[in-house]
Structures are given as structure tokens and as C-alpha cells.
Symmetry: C2
Subunit: 340 residues, 2 copies
């Protein structure tokens, strides 16, 4: 591919105050120590209400536009990735673009899980290749509307209960462009692909039409054993393949943005990636322990942490793994090598 995408800014938005394990544990009947030990996430934020994704995305977008020194009307497109839109129609992307005053530029909303921001960045690069100059990439999730904190948790099975401690709400935004701007990070590679053909999904998040409102099906189901087993393997495989495609070595990596499933798993995956890639020098950038798994927001939150630290010539590798239908995603930032 000949199109180079530049990452000009990134920002994140989280709703309300953090909910720590003591407060959450008291609510759902789990000891805070159990959450600390087995999940490793210290806090998360929960949005109030069903339609807060648009508000979170708008906040993150205004921050990212400000950091890039751009007005919304200077954008050529808006892309939003989420698993949990405010409504099926109109799209949250269209609502946010309208609120920002982005004008009549094309707006896309990707339905996606944890690989969504990589998908949105890949779509953005394709739009730049098709002639666009600059665009806004948004990602976020409001899982809180799937979580009924008023129910009786005593009869809930662990496979359901874990959703209440793993997920959090948030949004992120990034401004990308085809032209280099001062301080922008060069996107050396961005890609996503399905893996494990034919293997059952590790997560399923239902939605219900009118005809299913009385369904007794659980709204969200996870196979955490499969997730715990597969995600580290898939992260390693995706990272190795991305480095090989770029002709980069692990030793060259300055920053590593690992998958953000939970504090404990992320720590383990980072250790595995450092060892497998020989990337002992790479600094980990993670946020999950303080925000929970915010789905499509996570990579943008990591990028918002990274960009102020990033120095000319440094190399960064980000890895995502989506465990619904299994998908891996990678993003590489760096000054050299061909774009892939």
C-alpha cells in the first residue's frame, strides 16, 4: 500500500467518578480482594442512562480536535466503532457528527468488539487512499446498559457475574490525516483479520427486538476459559506477524500497547509478548486497571497516553484481540519501513 496515515492527536473521555472494587463488590456481593486478585482491575466508570455513548464520543472528539488544532468542519469523514450503540437508528456516529458540526461529510459506524478501533483506523486509511485529507476516528462503549445493578446477584452464575467487574464505559477519539503535521505519529501499519475459522465465539452480546423482550436468555455470555487460553496465543501470533511484515524486530520496539482485557491478563500478556518478541526494552502502555475493559475505547485511550510521550524515531506496536468472533488487530507507529 502506498498511503501513509498520520496520527495527529488522540483523546479519551470517561463518565462520572471511578467505581472502585470496594463499592462495586458491596453492590454485587463479591469481595474486593477477589476482584483485585483474579481480575486485576482496580476501578471502572459507568455511564448513567442509555444514550451516553454519543456524549462521551462528543467530549473525546472535541478534545482530540483541539489537540490537533482542527475544527470539525475541516474533517473529510467521521468513523465510529462500537459494540454498544445508543440506538440501532439513527447511528451514534451520525448523531455525534451532527453535534460536532462536521457538515455533510461521509459518516460511518462500525459494529465491532475489541478490534473495532483498529478496524476504524483501517477504514480511515482506506478513505485517505480514496482521496480524503483528514478524518476523525471514534471508538467507545457503554456496557452499563447491559448491566442491571439492581438485580439479586446471589443467584447469578460466575460466568455472568464476571461481566460486572470486567467492563467499564468510555470513549476515545483520534484525528488522522494523509499529510504530515508537526508532532504527528506515522502509522506504519494497521490491519485486522479473522482467525480461528469455525471456532465458536468466545463472547456473545445479544440485543432484543420487541418480540424478544420477555426472553429468558442472558443478554451477554462469555466463555472466559476460551478467552484466557486464546487471547495470549493470538496476541503473540499477531504481534510476530506484524513485526515480520514490517521488517522490524522486537528489540527495536520502544512502546508496547497490549490487549486490555483486565489488569491481570494484560500484565501476563505483556510479559509474554516481551519475552516472545525480545521486546524487553519496550515500555508498556495500559489503562485497563483503572478504567476496566472499555471495548472500542481502549486503544484510543492508550494512544492518548502514548502520543505526548512519543519521540521522533520511536517505534510502537499495539495489539488487540476480539474474542467474540475471533479477530486480531495490530497498529504500528514508526518512522521507517513500508506501510502495510
Amino acid at each position: 500500500m502506498s498511503t501513509t496515515m498520520w496520527l495527529r492527536s488522540a483523546a479519551a473521555a470517561l463518565p462520572g467518578p471511578p467505581v472502585d472494587n470496594a463499592a462495586l463488590g458491596a453492590r454485587i456481593g463479591l469481595p474486593a480482594e477477589w476482584i483485585d486478585r483474579f481480575v486485576g482491575t482496580r476501578a471502572r466508570h459507568f455511564a448513567k442512562g442509555r444514550t451516553d455513548l454519543a456524549g462521551l464520543c462528543e467530549r473525546a472528539a472535541r478534545d482530540a480536535l483541539g489537540r490537533a488544532g482542527l475544527a470539525a468542519r475541516e474533517l473529510d469523514f467521521v468513523v465510529l466503532a462500537t459494540a454498544t450503540p445508543d440506538a440501532l437508528m439513527p447511528t451514534t456516529a451520525a448523531v455525534v457528527a451532527d453535534r460536532l458540526g462536521a457538515g455533510d461529510v461521509p459518516v460511518y459506524q462500525l459494529q465491532s468488539g475489541c478490534s473495532g478501533t483498529v478496524q476504524a483506523l483501517a477504514l480511515a486509511r482506506a478513505l485517505l487512499a480514496d482521496g480524503a485529507g483528514r478524518g476523525l476516528v471514534l471508538g467507545g462503549d457503554v456496557a452499563a446498559k447491559h448491566l442491571d445493578l439492581d438485580q439479586d446477584f446471589r443467584s447469578m452464575r460466575p460466568a455472568q457475574l464476571v461481566n460486572y467487574v470486567v467492563f467499564g464505559d468510555g470513549a476515545g477519539a483520534a484525528v488522522v490525516s494523509a499529510d504530515r503535521a508537526p508532532g504527528a505519529a506515522r502509522c506504519a501499519a494497521v490491519g485486522h483479520r479473522p482467525v480461528l475459522p469455525g471456532v465458536a465465539p468466545g463472547q456473545r452480546l445479544e440485543w432484543y427486538g420487541a418480540a424478544e423482550r420477555d426472553s429468558s436468555l442472558p443478554p451477554a455470555t462469555e466463555d472466559y476459559a476460551a478467552v484466557e487460553q486464546r487471547v495470549p496465543e493470538l496476541a503473540e501470533q499477531a504481534a510476530k506477524e506484524q513485526l515480520a511484515a514490517l521488517d522490524w524486530t522486537g528489540e527495536q520496539l520502544d512502546h508496547l500497547l497490549p490487549p486490555q482485557l483486565g489488569g491481570r491478563m494484560t500484565t501476563a500478556i505483556t510479559a509474554r509478548l516481551r519475552a516472545a518478541l525480545g521486546a524487553e526494552r519496550a515500555a508498556e502502555l495500559s489503562c485497563v486497571a483503572d478504567t476496566g475493559n472499555t471495548g472500542n475505547a481502549l486503544l484510543l485511550q492508550q494512544l492518548a497516553l502514548l502520543l505526548p510521550l512519543l519521540r521522533e524515531g520511536e517505534r510502537t506496536l499495539a495489539v488487540c484481540v476480539e474474542s467474540s468472533r475471533w479477530i486480531t488487530g495490530t497498529l504500528a507507529l514508526g518512522p521507517e519501513g513500508r506501510s502495510v
Copy 2:
């Protein structure tokens, strides 16, 4: 833009037998004559079950691949547009791509209303511009899961009741490529854009997480007065602007694919477009009277009807209007002029 996209095949899939106005009217307490007269849709198909979108898309995809003479493993990407996915995660697009055996190519699912197939085709063109060779574009909706046919309709307000006669279920598929293939139609233009900034949505389709399962909010709301007024105006405006951008005149149009809201509105919009564009010679291609409004499937159904009729050198203009957040979409097929 320099990328030309070729439309190699299109196909549609509808579930079960058609449900005519006599059968539907008896169920919901409306005279068949009223539906005939005020909506102008004779029949529609309803999918059984919540997760039939994947099955419908798979059927349409296999048909379209067969018509294009391609195997799924020869695709470079899969894009699916829908307002009504089978689940929030995994995406229906990922499920269909896995069933088809499309391998590890990028898969995108757009959340979208009636402009969705144009959005998917625009995304496909961008992916071709970014280096892909050929891809599969899918669109479809299963509105049936929003329609509870077992309820008491006597207390339902007309604004809700009309949903039961307007919508139908279906899916469509198209194969596109960057290289010309024998019999392929040249995509001269494809684009979509938000219009009417700040104007309230004409449609809203909710979804509910666990915390809202007991909500008394209606799952779908429409402002049909706004839809009836705005859509014809917006269709005319979008058609005129697309022709001007292409340097085409209405007299040159051989085929016209108008928005498909309902049989009666579509007939009126076609008459308006013919008069406003001077496109008296253009043959209308519509399917809504026999399938209902199938949302993201409609344009693909129209294209499946069109392609076998299309002759070398002919010009086609398709227009879509999405009335949730207001969006217009256009697709032009033809042999000359720059791609826009």
C-alpha cells in the same frame, strides 16, 4: 478519485413465502384495502427467529459469488450493512464470512439504515483504492424481531401500526472488483452524506440492554409526516447534485432506482424524479411493492434485477434516503465520465 469500481454481480435472498395484505391485515386488524391504498405494498417476507440475517446474507452471498464466478477464498474483504444485526457481538458480518470460508480477510459491519448499501459500496471502493482487488458487499435487515405479531393491536397507535405493514425482511449481495470483468457494470459514482443538520431524526430504532428490558418505551418510532415530506425533496436534491457532479443529464439516464419506502411513495418519487431531471426515458426498477421496505437489502435487490438487463453504454442512477438521521446516498453506473 482515480479508483474505478466494477460491479460484477448482485443477488437477493428473501425468507419464506410472501405475506400478503389480506393475511397481514387480518392479523393486525387493518383492512387489506387500507394497506393497498395508503402504503401500496402488496406483500413482504418475515424471517422466523432472531438470527436469520446471517442465513439470508449467506444465501445471497453464495448466489452473488456464483454469478461472478468467484470462490469466497478469492475475496479480499467482506462488508455488511444492516440496521438489525443478529447480535451486537459477534457481528453478523464475521459470522457470514466465516461460514462462507472467506479466510482471514478484513471484515467490516456497518450499522446503517436505508443508506447502508451505498455506504458499504463507498467503503468497498475505498478498500479497492487502498489496494484490495475484489470484495463482497452485503446488505440486509430482519425487522421481524422488532415486530411482535402476538400482541393486542387494538390499542396500538397508527404511528406504531404502520411499521407492521411497511417493513419486510431480506438480504442482498454484490461482488465488486478493481479490475473490469466481462459483463461488469462500471461504478461511475458512489457517495453518501448527512443532510438537514440539526433536524430531528425521522426514525428511531431502539435496542435494549438488560437494564432496559422492562422499559415501556416503544422499540421503534417514526415521524411519518416528516418522512413523507422530506424524502421526495431530498431524493430530488441528491439526484440533481449527482448528475451535475458527473456531467450527466437526466435525458441520458436509461435506468432509475428510486428510494424504496413503500409502493405508493416510490411511485410518486419516481414521477417526481423523472419530471425534475428530465429523465422521462429512464426505466424504473423497484421491488418494494413485493418485498416491503427491507432496509439495507433494497438497493442490492434492485441491482440484482438491473444487472441482467443492463446493456453496454447504458447509464443508471440509484438514489437512497435514510430518514433516521437524514442521509442521502447515490450510486451511478455508466461507461463515461470521471469517477466521483
